[in-house]
Amino acid sequence: MKQSQQSRIVITGVGLTAPNGNSLPEFRQNLLNGVAGVERIEVRYMGTQLAGVCHFDPLKYQKKKEVRVGTRAGSISIYCAREALADSGVSFETLPKDRIGIYVGCTEHGNVETENEIYNISKFNYDTKFWSHYHNPRTVANNPAGEASLNLGITGPAYTIGAACAAGNLGLIHASQMLRLGEVDFAVCGGISESIHTFGIFAGFKSQNALATHEDPKQASRPFDMARNGIVIAEGGCLYTLERLEDAQARGAKIYAEISGYHVNSDASDYVLPNPVRQAECVRAALRRGGFEAQDIHIVNTHATATPLGDIQECEAIRAVFGTGCPDTYINNTKSYIGHAMGAAGALELAGNLPSFDDLIVHPTINVDDLDPQCALPGLVLNQPRKVAKVDTILNNSFGMLGINSALIVRRFVP
């Protein structure tokens, strides 16, 4: 093991489930073909709502009893972790299990399970002797990572990183730091969300006037469009395998990209309203850490969630950093296909753009029929994929409530 704070960290595997795909090739193909994954579901107390729903098979990697005892977040983590490990080509059996870290970003955890138990005891006149003995292991904040460690027999550190909707990026950033510190030799990291199974999140956004409605579910999530009216809540997950470059090279691993810049900061200004000044500071700091100028970035994945104000503020931040002097910078958005996958969003959105290093195609933002002039950024890729001359860098923005901002830059791997 040779680690240092200068160690180069690379992505060697991707496992994901999204409302429009259960593997990176399927997800990518649907992003290029404009296939959205939003549908109608029944939400307790609220009736029919729009949501991004994943359709992976939990029994691919779990026993029925594990699914019964565990959480949806746990199932998503296990599926994504197993898929990422398989994709990495690593000989998992030979890896020292105490040297593997699992770092799972999540927006929240425990709402689903708590609501279920309250509903359960409501059938018994709220007598708490009917409250499940599984409530605590299901709702501890480390549950999604802990279930993956149990399923895989990984005995290294396994925990979640609570960072609202910036959490997917933070999973990757934290894993990079732990690899550089030599705390682990192999990391499974990213973000997950089970949020569509809690009525509270739907009701909360609705009370905030931030829940999307549309007669056609697949057109409901429409960042940057004049008719956008809020968020489509989604579930999903995306976990990566990260390694120090020398370890990945020693085993001849396929390398998707290199982690080359990141930053996390806080607005310190409002519970829910984004702050474009702090967002711009976050992006600039990530550029500095990676040794980049703004014009060096070829794809910017926006966080934009399709709220009327939030999209404008992110565009203001991007405009402040990139201005009009970045002719090779293209901007897109993934939530227009799948809604907002909360803690999984950043990790999923990065994955959807990774294949651009190979095919030089930038997937578009869909559902933009009438571009909001305040969101009319140069380089915005709308409705149709665009073949470009060069993709060497991707900036992945993810922001969250309580003013947490994250910017992650990955670049094409060059030995």
């Binding site: 029925k64 009893k65 019964r68 005892v69 018994f124 002797k129 499940s132 003995h133």
Partner: protein, 87 residues
């Protein structure tokens, strides 16, 4: 309720809490833990489901009565019948 009927009630609960197990040949005189993967949380599930589905209470000091199908039947059948007599 007969003891055989009682065993079937217990098996129905076990089928739900241990869905991966083959219950076609459970030996009634052998401890359940010795013939299938059941841990302490699963036994709490059996207790909870008896409470939820049938209104049967099993005090913690008597959990060992649920060790095998035979002991379940010995212990639970009178409770089921007492409940039926009340209603």
């Amino acid at each position: 309720m007969t003891k055989d009927e009682c065993k079937n009630v217990v098996l129905e609960i076990i089928a739900d809490i241990a869905p991966d197990e083959d219950l076609s040949n459970v030996k009634p005189d052998v401890r359940l833990r010795d013939q299938m993967q059941l841990d302490s949380m699963d036994f709490l599930d059996i207790v909870m489901e008896l409470r939820k589905r049938h209104g049967i209470e099993v005090p913690e000091s008597e959990y060992m009565q649920l060790a095998s199908l035979d002991s379940c039947a010995e212990y639970l059948t009178p409770k089921f019948n007492a409940l039926a007599a009340k209603s």
